[in-house]
Symmetry: C2
Subunit: 909 residues, 2 copies
């Protein structure tokens, strides 16, 4: 087993396809090296070594130690320096790098190799004592924090007791004493003393000295990075991103190059295309005389890389690299072109300029938001860089969500009270209450999942991920488009504005001052994440308009011809049907008829129907309801013509329609109408109470107890269909019987529908009338006996909501008391009401599909669909595709995502 | 296709193995004829002919008509008479006969062939005009009722308008006018006139004449019997007995022999052994000068057949056949021996003596109650007549129920107020309110299924079957042990007393006078059906003592060695465990721990536990509960040693333990204990409310939310086990985690148990401690993912109650509003909570068994059981055997039935 992979000077043992072993960063450093791109030489300790490290009691095995030493020798040879050499010392950085980027979630130790012995040599080499002591100060801070404290598992009740804030206090005190505004204002002598003070403080707080031996520093650094795989933040991030714990991280040990060694030094982060919009221009930021972390941490507002990416009012006055050093910029552009051509995808790169020489420190596939993902996919397709299949694969179904995201209403925005402007880091519009602390944000949303919050911070750090996840939007005072906040928000499709320097945030008093105004925590603000504008108060939010996006339209065209699954919508009225058609729905998978009973006149007739004692009274009430229902169905069938419209007969327990017991007026009204006492009506309401209404008298059980209800609904549907047929409109109603658990239930209800159909045909003088009768599969028993049930059905539609409730034994209304805890514990990977539980509930679906198909022939044209809310969830859609359904159905706004997810599913086949 | 099968004079076309085609009666008439037993010659129209008859628009097909005529010619040849011949007329009876006896549920027409033309010849032949007119009167009554009215489908709102009661009124009027007490007192001349009056009344009521042509009578009779297959009573009976509608009935046309042609004539019904007790003596009843229906209808109290079966106080003064005619009796005994030897089973026979000559009219396997079935099976086994397998098959599992039936408490009975005594027709003791009308009985029990009723009637008729089914016991004033009431009660294992002639029943006033006392409908009486004694009021009822029955013990010994399934019991306390062991249980399949929390001290600690906010408070409360639980488990484990005891951890939703919201005292007490406001406690109670508690926070979900509860219960079980182990008592506790739907839930809970076990072992200084951890399979998802769950389980126990609730989507508490209707409609054959729904819920069980077995090896000793209430239902037990479970578990009193049903299931393999 090889533990260490070397790279440098155009030769590398690793390559981009070795991400599992070397991590993304390590693999790409090798790849870039092989591409003759200037990469500081170094080596990677593998992810497997990390596993061995844990198995070995958090110690490197002997072979790895030896291989590290050998690789270091190669680096020394190339650089002509020696690690720990007093005259010509080599310094290295020690960085993490997992299979998949986990930005900022693990640890880094830089400037390793600086010690009493090498400092003088470094000063001589660099000619800059101030720089060397600054680098040493950074090493002390990182090392004491990461290696001596965190890796040792030391925890503090009060975070101020940790080493890092104590060191920072020393620094702040020095700056105040010396009247320095910026770190760069501190003199070399002061920094030297500060380093001594730091070391003394480390000894005081942690009880031991900072190692002064370069190799000891290196082993400590490597171990700490390995251990950070199981750091709190890394675990939390993996939980959110659903990454496994057994990957481990690689460790990259790489020659230090310095962007902070003077004004001929710089550091930068760039994207080969704009990750926020997909604009194909080179996009990036840089800082003169700085280390890479300064850009990412958002402590200073960086310069734009080129003219194109200057942001008005932000960094338009600072010189771009293109202006400042056209030659180096040209070299960078050439590397950019090289990388995109090589990787066929947008790259996120880090570079450092040390004394006029350009070094590439990292390349990786760049994160992008949905808007950019769509545009890049189609642009690269048009550029011939990728094919259609790859274009589809470049966009995650959930990313489309962003294009369909609501925006602030442009009309209302004109008159809204603009507070300030920042960098537009996450598109879309969102409103919420200000919250200044991530932990508070997390708690508030946990208590009330509907809470709308905007997390407002100076900058964000990996510690804030939970709060960022909980908030609707993120607003920071510092940082650029490549800052932590921007990066994370982009990954999650969050509305985000960064670098909004007008904000003066006081965490202690929980207020934000902006241009003289004072906002308190809890005050409402509105973000336009597409333009970067912040408004006071609540600005109305409007729906998205993806149809105006040409890239989106092209992508959806490709998706449309790729997918096999049909996509229908759930709609209870003509307006929703029209909207869904605009989104590309081809049919209705679920029309709930009970919503139609809640109009003022209707509910009364419905109540009388339910509370009737005799079939005669009941039929009288039903006769009143018939015309309403017929009109509803007429409208829906017409709006969806010629596509199929699946209409479910009455489903909920009857007591849902009843007046509350204390509504004397309504009860008296009903009693009068029925000619009985109010007490009588009340008694009937009490009788209708159920202990477990979910498992009670509902669904087809109602239609079997009261066949006249099914008959009325069938009549309303079929009369509407007959009328439209006579008008020359093609209709395809599908009457769906809910909650069937037994073939004989369906047989019973089907007969009623067919009998009514025969009558309606005669009354309307029609020879044929299109309609089908089928059932929902939502009771576990129905899945298990689907072969029997299919004998009486022309279609099945899986009601996965109820199938989840009964299959898992979870009442949707009550599971809040334990289900979130279950997801936390990993008992379920996801909330099974959001994404179908594939093994369990999905297992029932699979059984039903197999059983149904075993008794149906192609000429039966039997079809299978799903109408639960899972029909709009990409993972679930993938499952439904795999299991062989014919269509999914979802709410109108989810239709494009469902269509796209269906195409993605077809690609996976 | 042959429609008609002849039998007579030692030759028969049919035989006993042709029951499906010829019906039971027809097949056995053929068999008896072939055995040279004297059977009046005749022929059988097949059941297939009945089907053809219905398909043919309720008409006999031409071939059947011709075959009938041919068969009649053979009968005429044997008898030397001619059908319709004025000089020497042949008369025939037309009787139904289905595959399986449906006593009295279909129609009969006797004396067919009597008409104006043949009456004089018959008078000459018989020398008894009175007899001939009486026979004619009977023909008119039957024919007008059965053929002209019922077969025509005529129905009356008031039953008094039907023809039969109107004819009976004419008869009653004549008797009153002539001062006749019995029918036999009416003179020939009066009877002749009565026949004329009858015919006029028939014409008046039904609008047409009684057919006077013998062949027209015959075709009418055959058609009416065929049609009676779909008569109301026949349909109702088939529904109760779960017989299919498509069998059809055969029709037997047979030479009439008359038991009422004078005092050298008689008729009788006998059983080759006593059907009520199993006593191996010949048992029967007879009446001089009577027709067979007189015995069955119970209109006259019959004589005993022999000395042995005389009932003290009933018919002990009337001469037995043995006394009256030893020669004929000897012939009958010889036939009886012949039949038992031939059929290897107890036969129910009918005979008629016509002018000193014995004729056998029927033999069939005799119905018997459970007590008799058990005794006969073992006696016949001992006699070498049958083998052990046959002996087991002779007893239906439900029949054992009767031996386990409660009895009146013998001690209390001594001091009870005895009303009267009748014939002990159905053993066991039962108490109930008097009800005098079957329809009322049916309705009352429908409204309140717990209603305890005793149906008290003069006699019962097939119209009473619904009422008999509804009542706990049956008491009649007339009839013998072979009367309708006795027959039906025996079949159903009902407590029954018949022929209780002291009863003077007034249906109109709804009172019963007995020895000067007057009881009203609704008054309580108590029946000792084993001795035939009726008591006033409620006599305490005590449990059965089957162990005193030697035949039962022998049968259970055979069952024990035959069965494969283990039988455990459900028991929550040591007393039940001891009782169940006496019944033969080998282990406990379910100990519910929640019942243990309802003691006065315990419930308080439980409530405090539930309402605690902190783990500290909760653990304090749990510490209080621990010793109680440990003591409970100690007792149960000890009582069941060395068998396994399956203990389920906490299952029900917590709110079941809470005080009602208006119990201020209890709430204040809890608040004080917890140091919070009462309002606070109330708020928590409201929070714990669930919409669908069945699908809510219960089962292992509690143990996962509050691991300390599982830990406490595990500790209580394991400490008890450790203590017993130290005392040298072998224990095998099986800790069962309820409501698992997901393997990770079980993994979570199993870990808690194992951790506690390690601690308990150490604390008790034990190297090993017997225990297993497994789960209930009661959530559909668990069945579908049983392979995953089995990885963490040492056993499964199917909780078929909840599996039915979730699998079918039926809340047990709410399904009363539709489930009975479902069973009526045939959507479910049986209530799925009583007998497992084999296709649906059983399908889930099957899936789970297959999946579990796919991942377990024999050396895992993984076992599968069932602990739902289905564990005591014979049909379900058969299913569980077939599907491969290892044991069933049921309530102590069901254990013998389960053991026996398990043996029966093993035989079917």
């Amino acid at each position: 087993m090889k533990h260490v992979y070397f790279f440098g000077d155009g030769k590398a043992e690793g390559s981009a396809d070795m991400k599992n072993l070397l991590g993304g960063k390590g693999a790409n450093l090798g790849e870039m090296t092989s591409l003759n791109i200037p990469v500081p030489p170094g080596f990677t300790l593998t992810t497997e070594t990390n596993i061995v490290f844990f198995e070995n009691g958090n110690k490197l095995p002997g072979e790895a130690v030896q291989e590290t030493k050998d690789a270091m020798a190669k680096v020394e040879a190339i650089m002509g320096k020696k690690f720990g050499d007093p005259e010509n010392p080599l310094l290295v950085g020690v960085r993490s790098g997992a299979r998949q980027s986990m930005p900022g979630m693990m640890e880094t130790v830089l400037n390793v190799g600086l010690c009493s012995a090498t400092i003088p040599g470094m000063i001589k080499l660099s000619g800059d004592a101030r720089f060397v002591y600054d680098a040493y100060r950074r090493l002390i801070t990182m090392y004491s924090d990461v290696v001596m404290e965190k890796a040792e598992g030391i925890e503090y009740e009060d975070e101020e007791q940790a080493i890092r804030p104590q060191l920072e206090k020393l620094m702040d005190a020095l700056k105040e004493k010396k009247g320095c505004k910026e770190d760069t204002d501190i003199s070399a002598g002061d920094l030297k003393q500060l380093c001594e003070d730091y070391k003394a403080k480390v000894k005081e707080v942690l009880g031991k000295d900072l190692p002064d031996d370069p190799w000891e520093q290196l082993w400590g650094g490597i171990g700490a990075v390995f251990q950070s795989w199981f750091g709190k933040r890394a675990i939390a991030y993996r939980r959110i991103e659903k990454l496994p714990d057994d990957w481990g991280t690689a460790v990259n040990v790489q020659t230090m190059v310095f962007g902070n060694m003077g004004d001929d030094c710089a550091t930068g982060v760039a994207f080969t295309r704009d990750p926020a919009t997909g604009d194909p221009n080179f996009y990036g930021e840089w800082l003169v005389n700085a280390q890479g972390e300064d850009v990412v941490a958002g402590i200073r507002t960086p310069n734009a890389l080129n003219q194109h990416c200057k942001q008005p009012g932000q960094n338009d006055m600072l010189p771009s690299l293109e202006e400042k050093n056209p030659e180096l910029y040209a070299q960078l552009v050439s590397i950019r072109d090289n990388l995109e051509a090589h990787y066929h995808d947008m790259q996120d790169i880090e570079f450092t300029i040390e004394k006029g020489r350009l070094w590439m420190l990292q390349t990786r596939t760049g994160k992008r938001n949905g808007l950019a993902a769509v545009r890049m996919a189609i642009d690269m397709l048009n550029e011939g860089m990728i094919d259609e299949v790859t274009a589809l694969k470049r966009v995650k179904p959930v990313q489309l969500d962003e294009l369909l995201h609501p925006m602030l209403d442009p009309a209302a925005e004109k008159n809204a009270n603009k507070l300030t402007k920042g960098l537009a880091a996450g598109p879309g519009g969102s409103i919420g209450k200000i919250v200044l602390n991530s932990e508070r944000a997390r708690k508030m949303v946990k208590e009330n999942p509907k809470e709308q919050l905007i997390l407002v911070r100076l900058e964000t750090s990996p510690e804030d991920v939970d709060g960022m996840s909980a908030a609707k939007g993120i607003l920071t005072a510092r940082g650029g488009m490549t800052s932590h906040a921007a990066l994370v928000a982009r990954g999650w499709g969050k509305i985000c504005i960064v670098g909004c320097s007008d904000l003066d945030i006081n965490y202690r008093e929980r207020i934000v001052k902006v241009k003289g105004r004072t906002l308190k925590e809890g005050d409402w603000i509105s973000l336009n994440g597409t333009k970067g504008i912040v408004y006071e108060g609540k600005v109305p939010v409007v729906d998205a308009d993806p149809e105006s996006n040409e890239w989106y339209k092209k992508l959806m065209d490709i998706a449309e011809k790729t997918k096999r699954l049909g996509v229908r919508t759930n709609a209870d009225n003509p307006a929703d049907a029209v909207l869904a058609r605009q989104f590309g729905a081809q049919g209705i998978g679920l029309t709930r008829t009970e919503h139609m009973f809640f109009g003022e006149d209707r509910i009364k007739a419905m109540r009388i129907m339910i509370l009737s004692d005799t079939a005669e009274q009941r039929e009288k009430a039903l006769a009143k309801l018939l015309p309403y229902q017929r009109d509803d169905f007429y409208g829906i069938l017409k709006a969806m013509s010629p596509y199929a419209v699946t209409i479910r007969t009455l489903d909920p327990p009857l007591h849902e329609f009843l007046p509350p017991m204390d509504d004397e007026e309504k009860i008296n009204e009903i009693a009068t109408e029925l000619g009985v006492d109010a007490a009588n009506v009340k008694e009937r309401i009490v009788q209708l109470h159920e202990f477990n209404p979910m498992l009670g008298h509902r669904g087809c059980r109602l239609g079997i107890s009261m066949p006249e209800v099914t008959a009325m609904q069938a009549r309303a549907i079929l009369e509407a269909a007959a009328q439209l047929t006579r008008e020359g409109v093609e209709v395809n109603p599908e009457i769906m019987i809910p909650l069937v658990g037994n073939a004989r239930e369906l047989e019973n209800q089907t007969k009623i529908v067919h009998d009514v159909a025969e009558k309606v045909k005669k009354e309307n003088d029609l020879d044929t009338l299109n309609y089908k009768v089928g059932t929902m599969i939502e009771v576990p028993r129905a899945a298990v006996t689907a072969d029997e049930i299919a004998q009486h059905a022309e279609f099945f539609s899986f009601g996965t909501n109820d199938l989840t409730q009964m299959g898992c034994g979870f009442s949707r209304d009550d599971s809040g008391s334990f289900l979130p805890h279950y997801v936390d514990l990993g008992i379920y990977d996801k909330d099974p009401f959001q994404s179908i539980d594939q093994a369990g509930v999905g297992g029932l679906v699979k059984i039903a599909v197999e059983k149904a198909k075993s008794v149906k022939k192609p000429e039966d044209h039997f079809h299978l669909g799903v109408c639960g809310e899972h029909g709009g969830d990409p993972d679930s859609i993938y499952f439904f595709h795999k299991v062989g359904l014919d269509y999914v159905s979802c709410s109108p706004f989810r239709v494009p995502i469902a269509r796209f997810a269906a195409a993605r599913a077809a690609l996976e086949d």
